[in-house]
Amino acid sequence: MTIASVGTVKPASSGTATNIHGRSLGWLAVPALVFFIAFGVIPLIGVLLLSFTTWDGIGQVIPSGLTSWKATLSNPGLPHAMWVTFQVAVLSWLFQTPMSILLGVFLAGAQKYRAFLAVLYFIPLLLSSAAIAITFKALLDPNFGLGTGLGLPFLSQDWLGEPTLALGVVVFVVSWQYIPFHSLIYQGAVRQIPTSMYEAAQIDGAGRIRQFFSITLPQLKNTIITSSTLMVVGSLTFFDLIYVLTAGGPGDATRVLALDMYKTGFQANLMGQASAIGVILVLVGLGLALLFRRLGGGDKTSSQLEGA
């Protein structure tokens, strides 16, 4: 959440925006800034301070220096949770990006039936994560689920009880939920590509596939970076869906960092250590967001629409 806010505030607060009379419009950022400071920066400082304390969430907050950090960093659960988070981020990116681009390009067409399909594809985004998780959990139940209902034994796998399968299911359900959103971004981006480019390509004799790889994909470069940033940074904060679907199990096979933080803080009552994990999460998120900005090249505002 905090990381997303950084992205939205940064351009406005850089203060270069001026109106035609030359007066600064920086004050327009004040409401956003107030919210960001109240709900982003201040809690963040609080978490940072808490990570240097020992607190069980009920009693006294006892400053304890680096005790919580030492306990957190020496816990073998931390590298494991980071590895799981990394797997979820990478796998869901690999799955979501091609699907979203293809769907987005498909939905960008003006045909009526595509508009109808777009509405259907959009439905998962309207459902709450908890509802999605409960539904999939019921469908994937090895004894009462889809396999038994339809009489198809191959669907009666131990979907959420087998570590590898459970991770796969988490990636699938996460993707199922977010592909509509990213398709929407790509749909908008594809519609912005000037038709003159395709017309010129057609005259030059390029087929549809050639057009996709030589025009559509390069023109989507910035959109891909935006969408990937949202996907990867967003995947660091996956909590609700995984919590309801697998609760981090079986064992700790799907225990991502956010879940590890929750369990440490609210189930084991170790708020200091949970805060340390929280700080690590923020740092990883910031690092990734910066990395993606770099990947996008120096000047993000430069247009890709040259020659239009």
């Binding site: 809690p43 978490v47 808490l50 969430g57 009920i58 009880g161 199990g249 079986p250 440490t264 084991a268």
Partner: protein
């Protein structure tokens, strides 16, 4: 995670009455107290009934009530206590959780109150006070029912396969291949909930090594989990997992949804180790299963050569009500009045018996006779009153941080992703004092 907000709430809590719900409730003239408890029938209705009767009888001292789902409540109450926003009356499980509240000075010491009200204390099962006592002082009033863990079985399935209920651990291991050959899972298990798996260890530890094995770990003795008897118990449970003793996919089944009970009453599984509270839900959800006499039950069978007394049991010796130390004196008075006159009145006692449970009131066995569930209730009363040791559930007895490590490692043990020795090492690290 937001500290300043928590601090702000805490400030409100110490300066004014901590219960905002009570003052907002219509009819809460005079002192109003608040009370949080768990949802889920039949308990929710019985808890509500007791409060409603109390409120009707005492127009000047009202109790505002709010009910929460089990797992959500565990988090909610912790957060509320930390923020000084706890209700006047706090429902709990006693043991390690209660101790963490006591250590933070969040709950009232009720020792002297029980001294003044000896009749209240003598009304209740003495065994129920163990988990309410921290450092020799009583911090909670035991309420509701005694809930030992019971080995249930589906009689129809046993008849179909042509086998007899087990009388020893060897019987259990011999039954496993027979049920598997018949396409029926030997045991149902809601493994994702983790404490469900824990019940197996609780009994195996007790039957093999006696209650001393866990007691040593509980007291923080060095390397208590590496006791040879503990390793034997851990190995035996993994043997059962390896022999396909538990239903396929048990790691993804939750107990909260009662899916594990459904497996037993639909005949997909032959047996289930579960709390006595599941009798009531199997009765209401299982159609003809309980009423038609298809449900069988027994105490966990002995293990050959084991040191534990076969009469021993584990489970919840009671449920617990504490009073928030942050409540105003008026609120505390209402709470104490409720403890004295409202809790476990005759109507509530009867309601618990009708729901298939044994209230922790001495002599409640005399009221069993007329009940439709007399047979089961007699069994539970016998187990609860005849147990040489009635141990509290491990995750309730231990401190929260150790309990979390325990549950985590139990689920890995059942996944076969750690060995009994690794389990012992991991647990020693958190319970060694």
């Amino acid at each position: 995670m937001s500290v300043p907000v928590v601090a702000a709430l805490a400030a409100c809590g110490s300066s004014g009455p901590s219960s905002s719900t009570a003052s907002g409730t219509a009819g809460a003239a005079g002192g109003g107290a608040s009370y949080w408890y768990l949802t889920g029938q039949p308990g929710e209705g019985i808890r509500k009934g007791a409060v409603d009767r109390f409120n009707a009888a005492n127009p000047s001292s009202q109790i505002a009530q709010t009910a929460f789902q089990n797992d959500a409540y565990k988090t909610k109450i912790k957060t509320a206590l930390g923020a000084g926003q706890a209700p006047t009356i706090i429902w709990g499980w006693g043991g390690g959780g209660l101790k963490s509240w006591v250590d933070a000075s969040q709950v009232e010491d009720l020792t002297s109150w029980f001294g003044e009200n000896a009749d209240v204390k003598s009304k209740l099962f003495p065994s129920s006070f163990g988990a309410a006592t921290v450092g020799g002082k009583i911090y909670a009033m035991p309420v509701e029912t005694v809930q030992p863990i019971v080995l249930y079985y589906n009689k129809s399935v046993f008849e179909k396969v042509g086998v007899q209920p087990p009388t020893s651990w060897d019987d259990i291991m011999a039954l496993v291949p027979k049920f598997n050959a018949a396409g029926i899972a030997p045991f149902s298990l809601g493994g994702q909930s983790r404490w469900t798996n824990m019940m197996w260890l609780e009994f195996l530890f007790d039957r093999i090594g006696g209650p001393e094995v866990f007691q040593a770990a509980f007291e923080g003795k060095k390397d208590a989990w590496s006791n040879p008897d503990a390793i034997t118990a851990l190995t035996k449970v993994q043997d059962l997992v390896k022999a396909d003793g538990f239903i396929k996919g048990f790691s993804s089944i939750t107990a909260d949804s009662n899916a594990d009970q459904a497996l037993l009453y639909t005949g997909k599984a032959a047996m289930m180790l579960h709390g006595s509270w599941t009798y009531g839900s199997m009765k209401s959800d299982g159609g003809d299963f309980v009423k038609g006499g298809h449900l069988g039950w027994m105490n966990f069978p002995p293990v050959a050569g084991g040191k534990g007394d076969p009469s021993n049991t584990v489970g919840n010796p009671g449920q617990y009500l504490s009073i928030s130390a942050k409540a105003t004196d008026a609120e505390k008075e209402v709470a104490k009045k409720f403890f004295k006159t409202g809790v476990l009145d005759d109507t509530e006692v009867k309601a618990w018996i009708d729901s298939g449970s044994i209230p922790i009131v001495n002599g409640s066995d005399s009221k069993i006779a007329g009940s439709a569930d007399a047979e089961f209730l007699k069994f539970i009363y016998g187990v609860a009153s005849g147990a040489k040791t009635f141990a509290q559930s491990w995750d309730q007895a231990l401190q929260p941080a150790a309990a979390e490590t325990l549950l985590d490692n139990i689920s890995k043990l059942f996944q076969l992703s750690i060995t009994p020795e690794q389990f012992a090492t991991n647990l020693n690290a958190v319970t060694n004092s």
